[in-house]
């Protein structure tokens, strides 16, 4: 794809999610879609992190742990220490990054199913930690977290105090999708830069990568800590919408979903997690009408999808016109 047509696609995308989608919601009166789409945006940010760990050849089923940790960091900073929401979110991300470096230093050596199993346990560990620590308030969790306050730089107000807004849902929607745009733009840049090539070299052959001088230990930790950062900020904003966080806000099932979002969207595509999250989240919602069969139908569809489209939704022909990079 030429640079010009990439820019045109990007522009269409921006107009759609920043203009057309809110306009459609306003005229149709389906306000609930703000919440749905905001969730999709935030969960896709966390999924994008999982995607990066896949990109270095690690199956990560532990993103729920970092989403939960990020949620608690914001909850604690905002409620107990009166820190601004806008500052708390990056702190939550950095906190998760830091923790993941410590954890990653020992577990990233493992590969395949061994790494996957350990990360699966992480979510449970995060939950148990949240249950038992005094600062996280046990099973009761933390609720009545204040809405995001005003963000001003040098006295100039950039974002108004959410509690003064008539439409908080729309405000969260904008925060989430704008952040999502930045995250995916950054990820796109990362993957198409040398770092991305190095990650691919790791994914394919760690031994060869280190024999050409790549510090594979550091690279793995960098990738994993970026992944956890994204999990942390995604979770942090997510819990701020409901203004509460509990040990069960993100569970093992959520971790598995983060991974499924990546699978379903397509592991070979930077934008896979976005499409995958949208599909899975909406798919689940749409199946609500099927009642007790919801999980059965949902699981069957996902299994069928993985079998029929092992390279994800983005490997479909209609998308492929704009996603040829991999096959070129």
């Amino acid at each position: 794809m030429s640079k010009a047509s990439k820019l045109i696609y990007f522009f269409i995308f921006l107009v759609t999610i920043l203009g057309i989608v809110p306009w459609l919601i306003e005229i149709s009166g389906r306000w609930d879609y703000y919440y749905t789409l905001t969730s999709v945006a935030l969960l896709s940010i966390a999924s994008s992190g999982v995607w990066l760990t896949f990109y270095i050849g690690r199956i990560n089923i532990g993103q729920g742990a970092y989403a939960l940790a990020g949620g608690y960091v914001v909850a604690i900073l905002v409620t107990k220490y009166d820190v601004s929401f806008w500052l708390s979110v990056p702190i939550a991300g950095l906190f998760c990054s830091f923790v993941s470096m410590l954890i990653g230093a020992s577990i990233l050596r493992l590969r395949g199913v061994y790494f996957a199993m350990i990360t699966l346990v992480l979510t449970e560990v995060a939950k148990l930690t949240a249950m038992s620590l005094p600062i996280t308030n046990g099973a009761k969790g933390i609720s009545s977290i204040a809405l995001p306050g005003e963000l001003s730089i040098f006295g100039i107000s950039i974002i108004p105090d959410f509690s003064t807004l008539a439409n908080v849902k729309l405000a969260f929607y904008y925060v989430a999708v704008i952040l999502m745009i930045f995250v995916f733009a950054g990820m796109y840049r990362l993957v198409n830069s040398r770092i991305g090539h190095l990650c691919r070299s790791l994914q394919q052959n760690e031994e060869l990568a280190s024999s050409i001088g790549v510090n594979i230990t550091i690279l793995r930790i960098i990738a994993y800590s970026i992944s956890s950062f994204l999990g942390g900020i995604g979770g942090a904003i997510f819990i701020s919408i409901s203004q509460s966080v509990y040990p069960t806000t993100f569970q093992v099932a959520d971790s598995i979903n983060f991974m499924l979002n990546v699978f379903v969207g397509g592991m070979g595509y930077v934008f896979g997690p976005m499409i995958g999250t949208l599909f899975i989240y909406f798919g689940w919602d749409l199946l609500f009408t099927t009642g007790k069969y919801q999980l059965l139908i949902y699981s069957s569809i996902i299994i069928a999808l993985i079998l029929v489209l092992p390279n994800g939704l983005l490997s479909l022909r209609i998308f492929n016109k704009s996603n040829k990079r991999e096959a070129k």
């Binding site: 830069s193 040398r194 190095l198 691919r200 070299s201 394919q204 052959n205 280190s210």
Partner: protein
Amino acid sequence: MSTILEINNVTKKFGGLIANNDISFKVNKQEILSVIGPNGAGKSTLFKMISSFMKTTSGEVLLEGKRISNLAPHIVARMGVVRTFQETTIFKTMTVRDNIIISHHLRSNSNLFGFFIGSSTARNDEREFARSADELLEFLSITDIGNELASTLPQGHLRTLGIAIGLATNPKILLLDEPFAGMNHDETMHMVDLVSSVRDRNVTVLLVEHDMSAVMKISDRIVVLNFGELIAEGTPKEIQENKIVIEAYLGSEDDSIGL
């Protein structure tokens, strides 16, 4: 001639098995030195220890007087000792050219963050890597397959790509583990020329190989291992006439050596 690499009393034990027993020899700058011996003699193990992919049980390896054994493999690569693998090892889902470009990583002036934001140093690096990759493609006469996916290559080209990957790192010493394996006579002779020309790029070559005619043709000196012991060392002519070597080979079932 000056010494570039010293192997000093290197021993490797796997439990009770002694894969390398007290091996010592020196490698001169810009020479082609072959390590030969029957299967299981410990040649690959020795190469893995020189490139630090495996820890020595005892003894040390010195590069220009500095100890390199038991450091992290990427550090040893940075210091200029690079190994290609016995099994053909490449980055499968990349094109031939991309395989070579990525292998220039060691020569980066920019750090990772620079590559992310596309700093001018990083862009210079990229340009230089691409230029050098094209030069290597030409040097190895594989320019025409530059845009092919590495996974689709036939054996001969794979081996050549393996050497290109090694050369891209700008090594002082290139360790080639069975570079002629699976090749027919013509391919082997082409590769022999290629390896000889590598030396002209200021590279010292250590080679493990079973094809004796190639080894005799290409080597300045030969080291012979048998059951983990160094049993002889010398010029191709000396080795061919060495009684112990002949006995060792004749005594073993592996007579593919063709002496």
